[in-house]
Symmetry: C2
Amino acid sequence: MNPKAAVLSIGGEILDGRIHDTNAGRFIRALLSIDIPVVNILTCPDDIQQINDAFEFLFERCSVVLTCGGLGPTSDDLTREAVALFTEDQLVLDKKAEFSLAAYFERKQRPFDDTNKKQAYLPSRALPIQNNIGSAPGFIAAANGKHIVCLPGVPRELTPMLSETVIPYLQAEFPDKKSLSVEIIRFFGLPEATIAGIVERTKVSEAVSISYRATFPEIQLRLTGSDRQETAEAAQILVDAIGEEYLFSRSLEDSMAGVVHRLAVESNSILAVAESCTGGMLGSLLTRNSGSSNFFQGGVISYSNNLKSNLLGVSTETLARFGAVSHNVAREMAQGAKNAARQGVETGAKSPLGISITGIAGPEGGSNEKPVGTFYVGLSTNERTSSYRFYFNGEREAVRRFAAFAAMDVIRRNLLSLPVHAKEQEDES
Amino acid sequence: MNPKAAVLSIGGEILDGRIHDTNAGRFIRALLSIDIPVVNILTCPDDIQQINDAFEFLFERCSVVLTCGGLGPTSDDLTREAVALFTEDQLVLDKKAEFSLAAYFERKQRPFDDTNKKQAYLPSRALPIQNNIGSAPGFIAAANGKHIVCLPGVPRELTPMLSETVIPYLQAEFPDKKSLSVEIIRFFGLPEATIAGIVERTKVSEAVSISYRATFPEIQLRLTGSDRQETAEAAQILVDAIGEEYLFSRSLEDSMAGVVHRLAVESNSILAVAESCTGGMLGSLLTRNSGSSNFFQGGVISYSNNLKSNLLGVSTETLARFGAVSHNVAREMAQGAKNAARQGVETGAKSPLGISITGIAGPEGGSNEKPVGTFYVGLSTNERTSSYRFYFNGEREAVRRFAAFAAMDVIRRNLLSLPVHAKEQEDES
C-alpha cells in the first residue's frame, strides 16, 4: 500500500493574505511523480501549539507531512521547536549546518550573529538537508512511522532540496509502492461545462477515475488507474468524444506556449507578435521557456494607434474606418508582425508568421456592437492573412489571458492545419 | 471579541496539483476588510467523511468556515451533502434556486436536466446565495454559533457572491467587532534578509505586531495593532529605518505597476518599452490596470538583434562591439523606445520616456563576465539617457520578473528624482 502525504504551510503571511501558497503545488507534483498521493493541504500560523495540532490532525490521515516555512532566524520562525515538541526530541546545534551557514554569510559578506546561528539548531535525531541557495537548512524528522519533512518557504531554495534529497529519501523509505497510471489531457477552446457534459455521457472503464478542472483558460482532465493500458484507452475514448483538435497537450510540463514553441521549431517558422490589449503578455508567455529565440523574433506592443501605424504599418484610413478593434486592423497588424518576423529570415530558410491581438479588455470601452471581452486575432503567413473574432465574458485580466491563449491556439491550429472556430475574415495576400 | 474564520477548499483538483488555490486569498482579503482574522486554510478531498472531519477540526479553532468548491452537478460534488450531515439537516429542493438555474440554462441554450437540477438541492435551513454569473447557487448554513459559507470554486462567480452577500451577512451577525488597525508597507530593492535584520534591530511599540514576507520580488511588512496612531507611528519608524526611497506602496491595492501608472499620469509622461529577455512582461504588467493608455504607448519586443536594429534603431556596430546584453545596447534601446513614445506626443504636452531591458535570463547564455541573471535597464527622457547594470541569482522566470520590477522601479525613481542603486553609465543626449 502506498503511503499518503499531506502538506503543511506554516506562516502568518499566508493567513493574512500577503502571499499565495504556491509551494503546495510544488510538493504535490514531486510526490505524484513517485506515486504518493496528497490527502490534505493545511496552512497554520507560526505558533507551536497550532503546528502541533496540525501534525496531530494530518498524521491521522497520512504518514508523511511536508512542511514549508518557519525556518528563518526571526522570532516568528517556530517550526524547529514545534517538530522537536511533536517528536519528543530537543534542538541541538548541528555543526555541519552551522558551518554551511557561516560559509553562506561569509559569501554574502554579512555578519554571522547569534540570531542567524539559531537556524543551525535542529532536532537531535533529524536528518539535516543542506540549502545551497539560501541560509536556512531543512531537515527530516522521523518517529513511529511518521515522517516530517521541513523545508524553507522560498521556492528557489525549496525546489532543489525537494528533488535532490526529499524525493530520494521517500523512495528509499517506501520501496514497495504500487505505481499508479496517470493520464493528463489538456484542452482549450470549449467551455468547462461542455467538456463536463461530454465526460458525464461518455462510458469508460469504471476502474479509471476521472477528475477535471478549469486551469483558466484551459481545461485539464486527469485519469488515474492501476492498469496502464486501461488508463490510456480511457483517455483516448475521452479525447475522441471531446474532439482531438481541442487537445493541445498530454503532460503537465507541456504548456500551450511550450506546444507552440515545439510546433514552430518543427515547422521552421519564425514568429513575431503585434499586441494591443494584451500589452506584451503573448510575447512574455512565448519566451517563458529557454530556447525561444529559435522561433521567436519579438514584435510590437502597439497599445496606441500611433504605434499601430508607425511600427506596424496599419493604415490610418483602416483605423479611422473600422476602429482599432476590428478584423481589418487585426489583419494589418498581423501583416506588420509578419514583416518583422521576415527580418529574421535572411536566407529564406524559415517561414515568417505574424500574429496579432486587438480587443477591448475593459472595464471601459465596450459598445453594443463590440462589448467588453470582444477581441480579434490576426494571423499572417507567406500564404495568407486571416482574422478571427472572439468574445470572452470576464474581468480585464481574464479577458487578456484568454486572448493570449486564443492567439497561441490560432498559431497551433495553423501549424497543424486545423480549423479555427470563430467568426473569420480572410484576405489572400 | 472578534470571531475567527477558516477557509476550506474542497476538491481533488487542488490535491492532485492541477490548480493552485487562489480563492483562499480572496476570502482572506474580504474577511480582513471586516476585521475577521483567518486562522487556518485547509484543502480536503471531495469526500463526505473528510469534509466532515475538516469541519470538526476547523470549528475547534474558529466560528466561521468559508468553503469553496464541490457545488457543481457532477458525482464529485459533495459539499451540499457534507454540510447537511454536519449540521444535522437534510437536502431539499430550493424552488428559487431551481428557478434561477432553469433561467441560467435557458440563457445558455442548454438543456436543464436532473443532473443540473441537483445543484438546487440545499440544506433545508440554509440561506441560499444567488449566483448571477454561473450555475451553482451558494448558501450559508448556521447552527450552534457555527457559520458555514459555501460558494462555488470559480473565482468570477465566487467574488461577487462574497462581496455582495457573505460580507454583509457576517457584518450583521457580528456587529460588535473591535476594529484592528493595519499598516502595509511594501519595499523593492533590498534583500529580504537585509530588511529582516533592520526590523529585528529597530524598536517599535510592543503592542504592534509585525510580520513580513517576500512576495517575489517585493517585500511586504504588515503591522497590526489596536491603536491607529500607534500602528502608524511604528510603520513610519520602520520606513525611516529601512529607507523611504525603497518604499513604493502603502496598500495591497497599489502594486508597483499601479504606482508607475499614477506617477506617469501625474508627471504628464508618456512611456514606451523596449524589451528583450522579458519578452513583453513589462508591457503586460504596465497595462494590467484599466486606463493605462493615459500613459502607455506600447513599444517593441526586440528579442532578436534584427528587431533591435530595425524597429529601435540600435546600431549594428554597437551590437557587434558591446554585445546585445550591454550598457550601450540598453541605452540605444531606451532611445528607440523614447522615439516611439514621442509619437504619442503630438502637441508636445507630454514628456516621452523610453525604458529598456536586455539581459541573460538563462539557463543558457551566461559567461564569466556576464553570468546568467545579469541584465541592463536603459532609461531615456528628453533630458538624459542612462543605463544600469543589475544581477539577480535565480531561475529564468524569476530573473525575468525581477528585471521587469527593476525597470518599473527605475521609472519610479526617475519620476521621483530618487537615485538608482546599480552600476550606472550615462550619456547626455
